[in-house]
Symmetry: C2
Subunit: 418 residues, 2 copies
């Protein structure tokens, strides 16, 4: 069968299953998750065997070490995947609730009901445990899912799909609620992101290259994460001890995450005091510093930062450093070079904190805290389908609620419009 | 200047103005709206003169009567436009509020702040008063706006733009906060819907043809309204007096609106009782009926409905009528042929009402009320930027809140991630 007909078949079945799962009660959806977890534990050795086939092929293809690391399923990861499904099952039910119900002068009662989005298409790379996570999040939120993992993980993903289907079946839900694309043909992605009749939202999880390609080609709304050029601004009214602790943690706690600081901004008034001890910490941790002229006058040995540096998400042991005149210049810098992901101010001045919060147009804006907190678990969402750098629908860490929307419900007693 | 450079200039200026209006306080934004209203009242005769130029050209181009009607500015419409701005000014401020602030185990406090979207591009046809309405809604919600009206209304729109700018200036806000495209070159729309760096959301207001074109070409998220194939389902447990009143009103109160019923579904058990008196009402009001076989057996003189009829938004004095077995078949019909706009059930059975509410995936779902209530004013939104048939971000009537999003705010006291 050609990829187009195959994908349209997947879409049609997903749409039909979406109608069933949308009205399944919470107990049934939670039972499916618990049964998926049980199947994963039971089949652990089978999953690891399937994964071994992917790993053998990956080594043959000479994929890089980081990719092989992401691809690898260990017993620990398999157990964590099963536990993750049980944690999702334990979260409050995100659908069905009616909010803001109020009576209007006409006598009708108007409110909003939280409902599933319908069919969610998820496109991801390497990490096979995403197959179970994504299935769990979609089923919990009453959605059907079409999952397209990386071709390098095809055997692992199919094995996990078997467990997901076993869970759905045990709960009496259609197996088509979660479909894992069976072809590695890249054209399948092109179909998935243009099947507007069958897919309500695309959630891509992958590198910037994948996202940019999907942005060009998708005809379906996406909840997506583009990149994170995150800033910490140390104000001249900062507590310098807090400033050093936060700027250290924001950069060095983990280098490769999207909420890691990439550019440090320091107010001129405190640069001479805070940069020397802070840069000593960075030096000890092997962070390469690239500074503007003023920063380089204060700390010796910094490379000069180019215009390009201010735009760059290093995801690496590199930090660009700029001395700014004041809060306004910091806000201006973030507006010009930032990616509207996560930015923090360190200050003891309430008025400045308030101004930074309002003026910085990022999905997370922080006062006296490390940018590394921008995370669904840290924010208390319980689970995270991704981090959105979009402005519509969902910004920042997206939990189950991001997989739902609100429809209007009206209760009358025969009212008509005059 | 070519249209592309012109539009990019507009975009750049809008982005700069958006940063100013985003942090302007509510009093300043409301003052701008009040001053716009004053300028419109003061310039009423100038607006009507400019409109006369558009009308003369429209007659020369032999535009149809409905279009000329929409294009016409009367003294009454001008006054209503000014009053509308004052009503928007009087609404609660939609931005700045912080919700769901809670302390996490790490000690950080996490909440969400309602913020403007940024730059809103609005594309609309004919009706020049939309220029003032849209400007008012965007300024109230702290957004910059780029407005592209129909070329047939260019002089009217420019004249209203003058009043909008006078209002912004009087309040000390940049005039670029609201820009009305000055060229009638159609390529300007193509630029507007692809300037991702400058425009955050497109709100198209127009016919299905315009929307379908924009859906194909836009690279920017849209809040849009496609079409409304709305249903009323009369259940066999309906109060027939209510059923007739609602089905009459939903079809005949206004024929050309998107929330008007286009297909009536009647449960087999009551069809013989409810259809004859109801169809008599329709006949008296000149509604053409197109029925399925069963309906035509009950009421003489109905034309046969074709498969195409069930998909059709007539926006006219035509109604398709189908007799269904029961609630399940009604839900099935709506899922197959509906447009996810507004659908209503008439029933006295609470369990069936509940099932209809959950299972029908439309932006408004109603029990015992006319579909004609699906409207921002009837729902108490105070103002309406449009009605969305999308599922992400905003569904159904969209008020000021739809022009905002929520960003995360984090308050710490030096916390770092472990």
């Amino acid at each position: 069968m050609d990829t187009q007909s195959y994908m349209h078949g997947v879409g049609r079945r997903a749409r039909a299953a979406a109608r069933v799962i949308a009205t399944a009660d919470a107990a049934t959806r939670n039972r499916a998750l618990a049964e998926m977890a049980r199947a994963i534990e039971r089949d652990a050795s089978r999953l690891i065997e399937a994964n071994a086939r992917d790993l053998a092929e990956a080594r043959k293809q000479r994929l890089d070490a980081a990719m092989i690391d992401r691809l690898t399923l260990t017993e620990k990861i398999v157990q964590a995947t099963a536990d993750g499904l049980r944690q999702i099952a334990a979260l409050p039910d995100p659908v069905g609730e009616i909010i803001h119900l109020k009576e209007r002068p006409t006598g009708i009662k108007v409110g909003q009901m939280r409902v599933p989005l319908g069919v969610v298409g998820i496109i991801y790379e390497s990490r096979p445990n995403v197959t179970a996570d994504a299935a769990g999040l979609c089923v919990k939120s009453g959605n059907a899912a079409i999952l397209r993992g990386g071709s390098e993980a095809i055997h692992s993903n199919q094995a996990i799909a078997g467990c997901v289907h076993a869970g759905l079946k045990a709960a009496g839900l259609p197996e088509d609620t979660v479909q894992v694309i069976e072809t590695t043909d890249r054209a399948a992605v092109g179909e998935l992101i243009t099947m507007q009749d069958y897919v309500d939202v695309i959630v891509p999880r992958g590198g910037k290259g994948l996202i940019e390609r999907l942005m060009r080609e998708s005809r379906i709304p996406m909840i997506k994460h583009l990149h994170g050029v995150c800033h910490v601004y140390i104000d001249d009214r900062a507590d310098l001890e807090k400033a050093i602790r936060i700027a250290d943690n924001a950069k060095t706690q983990r280098l490769g995450t999207c909420n890691t600081m990439e550019t440090l901004l320091v107010a001129r008034g405190v640069a001479g005091k805070v940069l020397p001890p802070l840069c000593k910490v960075y030096a000890e941790k092997g962070i390469e510093l690239r500074g503007d002229e003023q920063a380089r006058k204060i700390v010796a040995g910094m490379k000069p930062a180019t215009e390009e540096d201010w735009y760059t998400e290093y995801l690496d042991a590199i930090l660009s450093v700029r001395v700014v005149r004041d809060l306004d210049e910091a806000i201006e810098h973030i507006a010009t070079y930032g990616s509207q992901h996560t930015d923090a101010i360190v200050t003891e001045d309430v008025e400045r904190a308030r101004r930074f919060l309002r003026a910085v147009d990022s999905s997370s804006v922080m006062v006296n805290a490390s940018t590394r907190f921008a995370d669904g678990y840290e924010y208390g969402l319980g689970a995270e389908i991704g981090i959105s750098t979009d402005k519509l629908h969902a910004r920042g860490p997206v939990g189950l609620e991001g997989l739902t929307s609100l429809k209007w419900v009206v209760f009358g007693d025969g009212q008509i419009r005059q």
